[in-house]
Amino acid sequence: MDQPEKTDKKIAENPAGRTGALEKAAAPIARLRLADSLLNLCRANSLWPMTFGLSCCAIEMMSSGMARFDLARYGAEVFRPSPRQSDLMIVAGTVNKKMAPAIVSLYEQMPSPKWVIALGNCAVSGGPFAIEDNYAVIEGVDQLIPVDVYVPGCPPRPEGLIEGIFRLQEKITGKSHPFPQNRHPQKKS
């Protein structure tokens, strides 16, 4: 259960600086271990990502949601068109300076508990835009909001995003593959 503290720390370092107080206010007064772990198990198996994409990585995100890769197998297919209904923000693509205020306010509008996946090199670190002459691109969305899982790639394949969601589930519940039925069948020798 160290996740909320970690998030707080990240927010405190965040230059925008406004989310810290909000996050503290949202922290529970009392924690019941069993109820918490049960809730977290539910949260991990029903992540509701927000519907938005910033560039080409969004195409991979859409692909992940479609039939071939079928994110629904892991409970994360309910893309919500409103930050109020989402608990997972997948930052899929390049974050421009001009887009940054919108990203921060979207993040602030999401109810806690909430998580962020940085999808693709641009959102992770600026990717090909991290050069000396760069004047328009934020080099890594973690300069704006706390990021839980980084998925590198240019763009990452849908399997990459799905693996990122597994890692997030691991972070939420504290164990990998909290749902054994989601594990790929092992070959019996």
């Binding site: 300076k97 001009k98 002459d133 004047y135 328009a136």
Partner: protein
């Protein structure tokens, strides 16, 4: 008469400095050099012949920054490159009054190169974030400047 011949005739009549180029090699068939004070005359000639603005941009080269326009015809394969050296005060006359579509192109050039367009109807910042409106990010450092003769394919 074909648009191309008509255009060449009018350019000659108004004594513009132009040359014909090999469009298969450099992508445009005519290249015109003119001054900021004549760009409106030239734009009016283009408009009267039914050409449209493809783009307006600028290049920062040695000896100085230039505004670059490209016009094209709709009926025949004809592209015209127009180059205007920017005067020392950094202001080129706007052609937005002749081609309305050039309005936003010129605002973009203002953002990225820090140039100004005289008599532009509404030269507000367009694409850069609020804190960077006067950044002029595409201006090059002195070391990185290239010679104009090296970069335009029409120069042989």
């Amino acid at each position: 008469m074909q648009t191309r011949e008509l255009l060449i005739e009018r350019l000659k009549k108004k004594s513009f400095d132009f040359k014909e180029t090999d469009s298969r090699r450099c992508g445009y068939g005519l290249e015109v050099q003119t001054l900021s004070s004549h760009i409106r005359d030239l734009a009016a000639v283009m408009r009267d012949l039914g050409l449209y603005v493809v783009f307006v941009t600028a290049v920062h080269v040695r000896p100085g920054i230039q505004v670059v326009y490209q016009f094209a015809a709709t009926d025949v394969p004809l592209r015209v490159m127009v180059r205007v050296p920017v005067p020392p005060d950094g202001t080129v006359l706007s052609i937005a009054g002749i081609f309305h579509g050039a309005d936003w192109h010129e605002r973009e050039v203002r953002d990225l190169f820090g140039l100004s367009f005289g008599e532009h109807p509404d030269l507000r910042p367009l694409i850069l974030p609020d804190e960077d409106v006067d950044l002029a990010p595409l201006r090059k450092k002195e070391k990185k400047l290239k010679d104009i003769m090296d970069i335009f394919p029409g120069n042989d």
